[in-house]
Each structure stands twice: as C-alpha cells, then as structure tokens.
C-alpha cells in the first residue's frame, strides 16, 4: 500500500506539471478543435506497480505518460489537457475495484484505463455501469471480458484495446501447425489465463492438424520461483514441443531452468505466448535460446510503418528503453479516447461509447478497428523466433509471421471452446 501511495503522489506531481506545461505551451497547429470541455480531462490508470511483476506497470505507465505528453503538447483532447493518475492494482480483485471507485468517486476520473489481471478486469468491468465511466482495458486478456461482459451482458462501458487470449491460444496454433512436431505439452500458469490459452490452443490445433497429440501438462501456481519440478514432470512425458503462457519473471525463470534441463536440445519447438514482452527479452538477455517462438500483444518491430517507427523512437528518447507491449496498448488507449471524444464532441458517456464503437485507430501496432459487438480492438500481432542481433541491447524476433485477424479473432456469437 505504501508503495502505491507514493507512486501515486509522485506521478501525480509529475503529470500535473506536464499538464500545466502543456497549458502554457502555444497551441500546436490548430488541428485540435476547442470543444470547451471540462479542463483537465482526467484518466485513471491502474496497473501492477509493486512486487515481482512491478516492471509491467512501469512499462504501462511510460506508454501512457508519453501519449499524454504528446496529446497535451498538440492541443489536448478537444482543447482540454489530459491528466493522468496511477494506482497499484496489485493483481488483486478487491484492490482493483477499490481503485476504480477511488478514481471515479474521489478523484473525478472521466475515463479508466489499465488493468493487468483478467480477474480484476472482469470484476471492475462488472461495476462500470454503476460508476458509469468508460473503461479501456490495456492488458487483462480473458476472452470473457469481451465475450461475456460486453457481448452477452451488454455492459457497454467496457472496451479492450489489446489483443485477448486469441493471440496466445489461437494465433499460436496457426504457427504450430507448420512445425514438424506432433506431440505437445505445456507448462503454464495455474489460473484462468493459462488454462484458457491451453484449451484454445488444443482446440484450434486439433481442428487444423488432426494428427497432433497433447501428451503432458503442468500448471504452476502464481508466484512460482522454481520450475524444476514442472519441467521434469512434463519432460517425463517425452513431448516434441512445449507450449507455454508463463509471463514476466516467471517466464524468465522457466526458460533459464528449461535450458539447464536441456529441454531445448530434447524438443524441436518451444513457444512462449508472452515471450516477446520487453521484460522477458531484457530479463533473459543472452540466455534466451535462439529459435524459441514468442509473441506478445504488440512487438516493437512490427509493423514496418512510419507511425510505429516514430513511436519506438520517441519512446526510446523519452525513456531510454524499447517499448513493451503494455506501453503501446496504454498509449493507444489514450489516443482512442482523444479520437472518440473529438468525434462525439462531448464527454457524455453514451455518445462517446457510440463514437468508440467501430472506431478506427491508427496506432503503432497498426490500424485497428474496435468491434461494435464486443468492444474488442482488432489488430494483428506477429509471432516470431528469438534471435540475437548485435544492433539491439536485447534479443529480438526474427522470422515474423502474422495470422490473419479474421481467422484468429473469435467472432460473435462466440461458440464455446471444445477441447
């Protein structure tokens, strides 16, 4: 708690200063219309800022702050500057709900963004009608958020700007089908995200390549510090390939230990759905075995477009680091808010929701459309193979492959996943 409060105050001061600076600055090119909205427009962002996964939150904060600075420097949102406030989500449902209530009831937030945990995203999503604000999730990936909360329960205040588990469980299968292996096993997190991804992976791969077999699985609890027992269990089943949705520091530990157990010599393929997140690339560094298939919810090297290049460059200049995927999603969330508000010409909830539905956002990750039916942003994220390149301070992805979004994004009416 102490940590979160300090972060909040510190970032509050910093963001207020930036907001004031923007107010004083001359108005860009006059491209932004003055809509005479309330000043400033407040956006509350919650993310994990403490503990072993605190690095994720830092990356998300940096993306959001960068977007805010850019937006404010060029006239704000319809003439009003943005103001950001950050709180530590702690990946806990009660904390997440409390944060959301604090943002709206006490701080006066106009929009909520962020959230890393799927469970927190679902819980906060449920109370959005009560709070009556728009929530744009930038990380939590459960398909229940768009399929159940928005599509089935019609909680229209909920949006998601990052690709959901379709990337982890379905796009992965399109990569896996071309690999010369039949026997798969998994080491994945023992909660919603890990189980759902593995189920989608099996269902999809079985459908497009019926001869595959799934020979072993081991699910590691949250906060696992040693994967040795999971590795020896799974390798006991003699798989030809490993699929994993471990992420953050746990992915780092798992890969290092798998390497010691010679898993990369005994198998022909290894896939880690969140393995191209910047924290994993930096954490493993030279230890990251070449050829591992990895993905994320955005990869800084894709697409090869001017927007993306500019984003990566400004991000590096501002923070002396390459952006992680949560940096891009929080950045995109603020630009989506800007575009929707300027289209709706008001901060009233219903017109802004209508403006967000079907909205096209030209984000660093490429052009994306926010689907009307389930409020899910649709854009493609590549899978690629880890390679070491002396031009980069961390391992990067080579051999990028992109599955068509039309094939890997589940569509309404979202039939149940049978695996």
């Amino acid at each position: 708690m102490a940590a979160s409060r300090r972060t909040t105050r510190r970032t509050f001061l910093k963001t207020s200063a930036a907001g004031l600076a923007a107010l004083a600055a001359p108005r860009g090119f006059g491209a932004t219309p003055d809509l005479k909205l309330k000043k400033p427009i407040k956006v509350g962002c919650q993310t994990i800022l403490s503990g072993p996964l605190g690095g994720y939150g830092e990356f998300m904060r940096k993306g959001a702050v960068l977007a805010m600075e850019e937006i404010n420097a060029s006239g704000g949102v319809g003439g009003s500057p943005l103001e950001l406030n950050f709180r530590d989500e702690e990946l806990k449902v009660d904390v997440g709900v409390k944060n959301a209530r604090y943002f709206v009831d006490d701080w006066g937030a106009d929009f909520l963004i962020g959230i890393d945990s799927s469970a927190v995203a679902l819980a906060v999503g449920e109370i959005m009608p009560t709070l009556n604000r728009i929530l744009i999730v930038t990380h939590g990936a459960t398909e229940k958020f768009n399929e159940d909360l928005v599509y089935r329960k019609h909680i229209k205040q909920c949006f998601r700007i990052c690709v959901p588990v379709y990337q982890d469980g379905i796009a992965s299968a399109f990569i896996a089908k071309d690999l010369p292996v039949k026997k798969w096993a998994t080491i994945s997190p023992d909660y919603e995200y890990g189980h759902t991804s593995w189920k989608m992976f099996r269902a999809t791969l079985k459908r497009i390549k019926p001869e595959v077999q799934f020979v072993g699985e081991s699910f590691a609890k949250f906060g696992t510090v040693d994967f040795s027992s999971h590795i020896s269990k799974v390798m006991g089943a003699q798989p030809e390939a490993i699929f994993s949705t471990e992420w953050g520091g746990e992915a780092v530990t798992m890969v290092k230990q798998a390497k010691l157990f010679k898993v990369f010599d005994q198998t022909k393929a290894f896939m880690i759905a969140m393995g191209s997140a910047m924290d994993v690339l930096q954490g493993l560094g030279a230890d990251y075995p070449e050829g591992v298939w990895a993905s994320g919810r955005y990869y800084f090297g894709y697409p090869d477009s001017p927007q993306n290049k500019k984003f990566v460059e400004t991000f590096r200049k501002r923070w002396q680091s390459y952006p992680s995927y949560v940096s891009e999603t929080s950045y995109a969330a603020l630009y989506a808010i800007k575009k929707a508000v300027e289209k709706a010409k008001t901060l009233d909830i219903d017109p802004v929701i209508a403006a967000l539905e079907g909205l096209q956002v030209d984000r660093p990750a490429g052009p994306c459309t926010i689907r009307k039916e389930d409020h899910q942003a649709v854009y493609a994220v590549p899978w690629g193979r880890i390679k070491h390149d002396p031009n980069f301070p961390m391992p990067i992805l080579g051999d990028l492959r992109v599955a068509p979004t039309d094939e890997y994004y589940r569509k309404p009416p979202f039939p149940p996943v049978e695996a």
């Binding site: 300090r6 830092e58 609890k221 040693d226 006991g236 530990t253």
Partner: protein, 289 residues
Amino acid sequence: MGRVLLFQGLVGLTEAMYLWLVAAGLSLIFGVLRVLNFAHGALYMIGAYLTYAVFRACGGNFWIALLVGPVLVALFGWVMEVFFLRRVYRADVAFQLLLTFAFVLILDDVVKLVFGPVYQSPPTPKSLSGAVMVFGSPLPTYHLFILAAGGLVALGLWLFLEKTRWGLLVRATAADREMARALGVRSSRLFTGVFMLGAWLAGLGGALSIPVRSISPGMGELIIIEAFVVVVLGGLGSLRGAFIGSLAIGLLHSYGIVFLPVFELALAYLVMAAVLVVRPWGLFGVREA
C-alpha cells in the same frame, strides 16, 4: 516410471535446499533471539541483488560474487540487529512484527530504486551449465551443485553447534536464556553473531538463486511463506526440524505436481496442520513448559 519418479524426487530435493538455507536462518534466529524475522525473505532478496551487483562489478565472476554477496548481507544483518532489533527484544511481539515487516517494505522499494523494476538474471556459470544423466534424464550440474551446497551448510552448521565453544553458547542460550546469562554468556554479542549468521544463510540462498531464478523486487515474499511453513512444521528454533521440514516440503511439492496437481498448493499447509494437531510444537520442536 520408477526412474521418472526417482528423478522427480531428486529435483524436489534441490528445491528443498533453497528452502533449507532460508529456513535455517529463520529458525536459528527464532531459537536464540525469540524474534520472528519477517524480513528474512527480504534478506534473501538483497542477497540476490548484492551478489548480482558484485557479479557485475567484478566482471562477471560468479564465484567471487558468491563469496562476497552473502557476507554483505551478514553486515547488513549487523546493522539491523545492533541499531534496530535490539530495541524491541523486550517489547511486545507486535512491535517485532511491525519492525521486521517495515524492513520488507523498505528493502523492496530500495532495490526497486537502485536496480529498477526489471528482472535481472545473470547467466549460469559456464562450468555449471551442463547436465549429467541421472535415472535416464538430464539433471543440471547446477542442481547437483545446489544439493552439495545445501548439504555442506547443514554439515557445517551441525559441526559449529555441536563441536565449537560458540556453538555451545548458542545452544545454551537457546535452551535457557536467563540461565545462560547468569552463567556469564554475553548475550548481546551472541545475538548479533547469530543474527548475522542467519542473515548470511538467507543471503547465500539468494546468491545461489541468481543464475537460475529471475531477480525482482518482492522476490523474498514468494519464498518466506514456505520458509515459515517449514520452520513451524519442523519446530520453531530447531535446525534439524528445519532441515527435515525443508526436505519434506520440497518432496511434497515436486510429487504433488505429478500426482495431485489441482491440490498441490494446499498440500504443504495440510501436512503442516496435520502435524500441528498431533505435535503443536512441531516435529523436532521443544514443548514449552
């Protein structure tokens, strides 16, 4: 199947060794100082970070880092005992908890400020990154090294406590603090020494973890709960209990993953609860009069 199971057990024992290093210090400190050191996980964490800092400073020599890092943690233990803990020995147990917990929060934030929130993970030393075939599967050399290191520490602690004069004083103080003091044991120096030894053990656990586990702020919190389970299971203050308890929890964990995957998390706590029902003072603990 039999060979796979033997291998799984061996892997469980290596995980047990990390637990043992942390639990040994925790139990030792409780046995002599009667303080439940919540900051013990944080000492494990700074052991990892300081070792990593030395590793970088000395150009990537893991062995020098392994020698120096835990000693730095012991020195930090000296500061902690002399300037802070000493003031709360006579205070209510709640004050001890507050003080040691404050260290957890402060140290978590300090490492985040100094090293940043990203994961750090130096490469495994070349000489230990191989594997040997055991029961038909490759077992990392590093894991064998951990088994040896844990065993050596156990042997060293036993020799120290049973065969040296200092060890005698430690045992006497643990058994009856007032009587030991009446007989002329200078308990304040002894307390400092024991706390430093406990801190060194935690630091060693952290130091040994860096080539194979990711280092991050808050990593201490991930292991401290299990270390407490071990200490309670084995008996508060009993080193033999901490050793047996670590092996038990390590094996339970690795076999639980194979046989009872849905239940694995609760297994350690259930065993602890069962032991406490029969022996509330733990397996090797001493019944309070």
